[in-house]
Amino acid sequence: MLPIAHSELIQIFRNRAVLIASLFMPAAASAFFVHYRDTFERIGSLGYIAAVIAFTIGAFSLYATTVTTLAARRQDLFLKRLRSTAAGDASILSGQMLPVSAISLVQVSVILVVFAVISERPADIALLVVAILASFVMMLALGMATAGVTRSPEHAQVTTLPLSLGIIAVVNWVAITGTESLTLLKRLLPGGAATELVVNAWDGGVALTDSLFLLAPTLAWVVVAVALAANMFRWEPRR
């Protein structure tokens, strides 16, 4: 797995377009939210800003980059080349996904730490970590699933839009309006319960048992995403 991850990291850093899309754009968007935190706090809360940052990185740095790189590696038959070796499928996929996952986790960690230092510390760091990790696993698996219907890296610009924009819309809707109304719908949407978890973890004031209840739909979406990935992901271009 590590040789594959190493080569993938080299490829990401040598491809300027991927680097800008996966590293600089989400970081710049997150910096924007942090800079105008007072304005966004008035719209929602500090937890809302944390959720938007986490899901912006999750949607663009992790999800979109996963789809783009997997589509590119499949189109180039690089995945088939790797499968011509003794490496197993799980090892190949882990190696492919490790760099982009690590970059996204480092990004979200650095930005949220900076945000916490200049604003307020999150009320429940462990819950925040669990919520973000679960969301990232979901986004990663959804990326693999979307790669299955994406012909090329160029096509990824189209196929990633519905889910990435949809998730960002859900995050904003849930974090700004809360879940007092349309509770079930908001919690069942992808990223809905996870957003509420992040907001609760950062802002505090909610009983831990209530927050833990939100883990069920959050983890259920992880299971759904992994099942979609297992069914939709393809190793080779369609014949």
């Binding site: 040789p3 594959i4 080569s7 080299i10 490829q11 040598r14 491809n15 590696r73 180039d76 038959l77 690089f78 088939k80 080349r81 790797l82 499968r83 011509s84 070796t85 003794a86 490496a87 197993g88 080779e236 014949r239």
Partner: protein, 304 residues
């Protein structure tokens, strides 16, 4: 109970009644063959005849719709067991354009489960000076050579080459065949497909000739060429008697003889010409070539 002969202990590949379908398209039909250790086995065929599909099942890239395929006695999809003993050259390169030549070989080599050095395999294909060049900057022929280099990394026991010389210039083809010859001398087993029939005719120990997903012929080159007659062509002077062999007279007292006993008939003809002091003008004796067998398949002839 199976009626197939017992498989030798030196059998490297054993394909038994392989069938492969893509949806409604039946790409490979009831294919059976085996490849012995140290052999060079060539799969030849018309375009779309099922060669690459067959190779992909042997490589473990595709699952058979039915039938059984064994490589070193194991399922080819058992990558951990089979791949350390098997090098694969794909029909299309499959390298990342953003990696260098050396990085590509190093990556595939480290994943192959075999020990070797990047310098050695790049030396085989004369790509040492391109070691730090990105794959995106290689020519098509250089990419094929890079592909070959990764296939022979660590001197695998079995090497599968899908159209290895396509796109190579003559010097590169010769160098590649020299490398193949060396691998055979070292005991490797090689299975390949090629569109260059003369290469197969010169190098292959046995050939499987495919058409429409099935074998039309299988055997040595002489087994295959024996299925079609050789030809003798000549012209006779106006006053010459009729030739001794049954022939199809062409225009202008030219003759074409088709024969399954070329040497014998040629001797008969030459003896006759000598005895009658007749000059065989423009005499040509052409043994059957693989090209002829191939063309016969294309024309729908079913040679025995």
């Amino acid at each position: 109970m199976s009626t197939r002969p017992a498989i030798s202990t030196s059998t490297v590949i054993d394909v038994d009644t392989l069938n492969l379908s893509y949806g409604d398209f039946h790409a490979v039909k009831d294919l059976s063959f085996h490849v012995e250790q140290g052999e060079l086995y060539a799969l030849l065929g018309t375009n779309g005849s099922g060669k690459t599909s067959t190779l992909e099942v042997i490589e473990g890239h595709r699952k058979a719709s039915s039938g059984d395929v064994r490589v070193f006695g194991k399922s080819p999809t058992d990558r951990g067991a089979v791949r350390p003993r098997m090098g694969i050259m794909l029909q299309e390169s499959g390298f990342s354009p953003d990696l260098t030549v050396a990085e590509s070989v190093r990556l595939v080599g480290r994943l192959s489960g075999r020990e070797d050095t990047v310098d050695r395999v790049l030396g085989i294909v004369d790509l040492t000076r391109k070691a730090d060049t990105r794959v995106s900057q290689l020519s098509g022929g250089e990419k094929r050579r890079l592909d070959f280099a990764t296939a022979v990394y660590g001197r695998p026991e079995l090497i599968v080459l899908d159209e290895p010389t396509t796109g190579l210039d003559i010097a590169s083809r010769d160098a590649l065949w020299d490398a193949v010859q060396q691998l055979l001398q070292d005991g490797s087993t090689i299975v390949l497909t090629t569109h260059y029939l003369e290469e197969a005719q010169q190098r292959a120990d046995r050939i499987g000739l495919m058409h429409d997903g099935a074998f039309v012929h299988q055997g040595t080159v002489s087994d295959l060429t024996r299925t079609l007659p050789a030809s003798i062509q000549f012209s006779l002077p106006r006053d010459a008697p009729a030739p001794p062999l049954q022939s199809a007279p062409l225009a202008d007292r030219s003759y074409a003889i088709e024969t399954f006993t070329l040497q014998e008939d040629l001797k008969t003809l030459l003896d006759w010409a000598h005895d009658h002091t007749v000059e065989l003008q423009g005499l040509q004796a052409a043994p059957t070539r693989l090209d002829d067998v191939f063309r016969a398949i294309g024309a729908g002839q079913t040679a025995s």
